[in-house]
Symmetry: C2
Amino acid sequence: MSDKKDERIFGQIPDTKVGQLFRDRMSLSTSGIHPPTQAGISGAASEGADSIVLSGGYEDDEDYGSEIIYTGAGGRDPNTGKQVSDQKLERSNLALAKSKIEGYPVRVTRSHTHNSPYSPQKGYQYSGLYFVDDYWRERGRSGYDVWRYRLLSFDEHPNVSTAGELPHGSDNTKRAKTTIQRIVRDTALAKNVKWWHKYRCQVCGLALETSAGLYAEAAHIKPLGRPHNGPDVESNIICLCPNHHVLFDNGGFTIADDLSLIGLDGKLRTLKKHTIGLEFIRYHREHY
Amino acid sequence: MSDKKDERIFGQIPDTKVGQLFRDRMSLSTSGIHPPTQAGISGAASEGADSIVLSGGYEDDEDYGSEIIYTGAGGRDPNTGKQVSDQKLERSNLALAKSKIEGYPVRVTRSHTHNSPYSPQKGYQYSGLYFVDDYWRERGRSGYDVWRYRLLSFDEHPNVSTAGELPHGSDNTKRAKTTIQRIVRDTALAKNVKWWHKYRCQVCGLALETSAGLYAEAAHIKPLGRPHNGPDVESNIICLCPNHHVLFDNGGFTIADDLSLIGLDGKLRTLKKHTIGLEFIRYHREHY
């Protein structure tokens, strides 16, 4: 497993497919789906986790198919496999938490040794992409603290609702339950912009400190997608805290040609290497 | 059409189904899918919009099936149907914007008069639930400003990506594009809590002012869904700005029994009628 930044691949690996079987960990590793040949989690704290293998090693794992409650790594006796101390939110556990706050997809593979109706009869089966919906600490069956993660299948959770609150179907209450989503598209270039600004909001300077690291959102100035068809280039992206992102996307403020803010006091914070496209700012100003 | 607050139904109407046909606007209205018998948008600025009918009245509408670019109401000559003045973000147009910031589902019905391959041959066909992904102003074909809305089908946009950035499928770049989601579940009770607090964050007192009205998020203290199975009751919900919601859900701060904040200065702002369940706060403190 290499930790070189440019080599970690998030998402689908070319020339592999969901449901594909692998004889052993070595062939799974060679495929690129899960590079490490022993560790259950592929990832680094600073980069996020890109893949996990469910192998039955943790007594606390729960597998519902498109929803998995996964247990973090560490704290086990290497000989007995028993939990003998608390797990910490560090290394690969922190990597999975980082994947949650960044929204990175995580490849999931099931081993035949994982006790679940979704496991293959032998070898390893790639189950597709999941995302980390939540992470938390709890007292495991062993009596020691473990870190746990809820992973949800991308394919089988249209608009996601773990609480069964998707607003169609059996809702017969007068005041419907609803599901809200704030979608933030985060591309490779958006990652660069957040990195350049050290996750500081270009409006207020704030970087949110979570237990999984700093958090910010990348906002496209001229939106992606039709009919706007803004480009995914760094000069069309700004780094914002969630509050200023909501305001920017919903008419709360806009930006003048000299980068002073309209609707808020102050001026957009900039960096020399991060040029903002005036044509994108003008588009936003005219439309939002 | 009644605007009485308790009578507006968001989401699926009991005893109706997607694909169902209606002879005319009256029978569509009687079904409850689209109560108004003339207006294209069912909604009120203060409550949000619950339903639209695509009838071909606006030359700027674009229909891609699971994605619709819809044009707001107003500014047309009632005799010729032509756009003769700018549309404003008010009344039903504002209602659709409110549905966006609140994440409310919008029922979509297509008329045979709507020029699209997805329209029925005659009468009206209910097409299911969509959500408002974006709203903006633009110069329409007529030369006057119109408000436009991107609506996406709930069923056909698993984890939503209007820019084709869903991180599985054909991605063969080394640094994958990813899609981030922050999901906020907003139930009827959560609506109450936001309303009680006038959309002010219980940590910082801020209420975000968007062009569609005030914005806040409802956070469940003990999360919904397994394995937490927190209840959807008002004493398990707090009203937060997006920044403090991210921090609360990701280990940025928690709350002591006396409601003082741990990890941040200050104390949770409370209201007499909004009791916070200590058992939920303890659960959050032990797990996040």
